[in-house]
């Protein structure tokens, strides 16, 4: 009986220490220069979508915020993460609404369930264009159940709808659970990183990638910022 108690105590200590020493990487993604002008989208050919937008929406290749912040940047641990093989049980959802993709950039783990939903009153076809994963193309008329898919190789995959040529999105299929997509204000956060050496990569669909090497030593929050140079046009 005593042995069990000792074991239990040791186990508790182990769990606590691993929880205690969980570092966080957080920061901001910004840009320098002048980002390309995002064009307004003419949805007049799809009235059921056009009427959902009081003001015309623009393309989302480059989405910026206050103080030169850059959104839709996938920030992830590209090497050093200890839990690469753990596929999250819950699905990620990609919604087609108002003839736009919500979110524009969707990050997921390799083999994680991807649910694709059509909330519009029009047919969409979901046509992701992978290079190393399998390429499929499915029609999803209004009112049909969600499409369930998954990707078994890490890859950034452009997504389009052939019926509505302005619809563009991105799937970021990653080999890690430590990822975030920069949102309002360009902020991102990668919590629960045990002590160790990591490479953090930031990827933007138009501006490419940047990396930073960091070391987490204990229960700390490491500030990592990425600055992308805006392309001339």
């Amino acid at each position: 009986m005593r042995q069990y108690k000792v074991l239990l105590a040791l186990y508790t200590l182990l769990v606590c220490s691993s929880l205690m020493f969980a570092g966080t990487v957080s920061g901001k993604v910004t840009y320098t220069g002048t980002p390309a002008h995002q064009k307004p989208i003419d949805m007049s050919k799809e009235p059921s979508c056009a009427k959902q937008h009081a003001t015309p929406v623009t393309t989302e290749t480059i989405v910026t915020g206050a103080n030169n912040s850059l959104e839709n940047v996938v920030v992830y641990v590209s090497s050093g993460a200890p839990d690469d093989g753990q596929v999250p049980a819950q699905a990620v959802t990609f919604e087609q609404k108002g003839c736009q993709y919500l979110p524009h950039v969707l990050a997921m783990h390799v083999n994680q369930e991807l649910k694709i939903v059509n909330s519009d009153q029009t047919s969409h076809n979901i046509h992701p264009l992978p290079k190393s994963n399998r390429e499929w193309n499915k029609s999803q008329p209004p009112g049909t159940p969600p499409i369930s898919e998954k990707y078994d190789k890490a890859e950034f995959i452009p997504v389009k709808c052939n019926v509505h040529p302005w619809m563009h999105g991105q799937f970021a299929v990653l080999n890690t659970n430590h990822f975030d997509v920069s949102k309002d204000g360009g902020a991102f956060k990668l919590p629960n990183l045990p002590p160790g050496k990591y490479t953090i990569t930031a990827w933007h669909e138009d501006y490419g990638t940047q990396t930073a090497d960091i070391t987490i030593t204990g229960n700390e929050t490491k500030d990592v910022n990425f600055t992308f140079k805006a392309k001339a046009y």
């Binding site: 799809e46 046509h127 264009l129 399998r134 499929w136 499915k138 029609s139 008329p141 019926v163």
Partner: protein, 312 residues
């Protein structure tokens, strides 16, 4: 007596030149050993079509003689003629194929590839290769499978089960028309199937080359579809999709009986082609009556989904 005659010398030199000439030209026939050729020995693959077994090694010279001009020695669609072609030749290194009996995103069966070679591709530069023997075709199928590692790691998808075709009736044509509207086929193919829908001009294939939707109304009795010409083939085309192009798979959204109704309506879009569908339609004075659903579903299609100017 042993001295060489000038004629002999000349003959010797000429033979030497000829021999070297032939030697170099023989070397030139081979694919250059440069470029992104994958490392390692050439892969050996088999195909199985009925009781015929195809061997990739046996197709090497046929591929170079008849296929490489467009598809390229490396099967990457970069043959010397490729720049002049529209649509572009298939890139076998990607292993995404247009005409399949298998679900979108999966590999085709050997038979699918075998049929594609003999059938050729309508509205493209891929001719009907019915000059090959069955064995040659089976060998070429095996050869095509050497270009992508997907043939090692994946198996072809399950072939689509096509139920027996119900009889063509005015009712099935009318229901097919409702589906054509509801599933928004007309967005690309146009309300009359002329390939002139509102999205037609914007379409690109998966390599960003412009591509046109199929024009059902073009041609007469000789009109062909890309992936076959029977009613079963039409059923297969929209259910499995045409991979690598904007044409998606409808397998998850059309019920088998509905699919047959759509096939019957699509036949009537081939206005100049003789078919039992067109016979039934002309017996009804060319008018498709409004479809009356015997088991009406509660959800009604919103008005926005109607094609401009109505159906046919």
């Amino acid at each position: 007596m042993n001295s060489l005659k000038p004629l002999d010398v000349l003959h010797g030199i000429l033979s030497l030149i000829l021999a070297t000439g032939f030697a170099t030209s023989a070397v030139a026939q081979d694919a250059p050993e440069v470029g992104p050729r994958p490392p390692g020995p050439p892969k050996v693959r088999e195909s199985h079509i009925g009781n015929i077994t195809g061997h990739s090694q046996a197709a090497k010279s046929d591929f170079r003689r008849y296929c490489a001009g467009c598809h390229g020695d490396l099967g990457d669609a970069n043959g010397e003629n490729a720049v002049w072609l529209d649509p572009k030749p298939r890139d076998f290194t990607i292993a995404a194929f247009k005409c399949r009996s298998t679900p979108t995103g999966t590999l085709p069966t050997d038979e699918d590839l075998y049929n594609s070679i003999a059938r050729g591709f309508a509205n493209s530069n891929m001719p009907i290769w019915n000059t090959f023997t069955k064995q040659q075709r089976a060998d070429l199928v095996a050869y095509i499978k050497t270009f992508s590692a997907r043939w090692e790691t994946e198996k072809p998808g399950d072939s689509l089960k096509i139920p027996a075709e119900p009889p063509v009736t005015l009712d099935s044509i009318a229901h097919g028309k409702v589906l054509f509207t509801k599933l928004e086929c007309w967005k690309c193919h146009g309300p009359q199937g002329k390939g002139d829908g509102p999205s037609a001009g914007t379409l690109t294939d998966s390599k960003d080359n412009p591509i046109r939707p199929y024009n059902f109304a073009a041609g007469k009795d000789d009109s062909r579809f890309k992936c076959g010409n029977t009613n079963q083939d039409i059923y297969k085309i929209f259910m499995t999709g045409v991979d690598g192009t904007p044409m998606p798979s409808f397998a998850d959204v059309i019920q088998p009986n509905d699919a047959w109704d759509l096939v019957h309506f699509l036949r009537t879009l081939q206005v100049n082609r003789h078919s039992k569908e067109n016979e039934i339609l002309s017996a009804a004075h060319g008018v498709i009556p409004p479809y009356v659903d015997k088991n009406p579903a509660p959800a009604a299609a919103p008005a926005d989904n109607k094609p401009p100017g109505g159906g046919q």
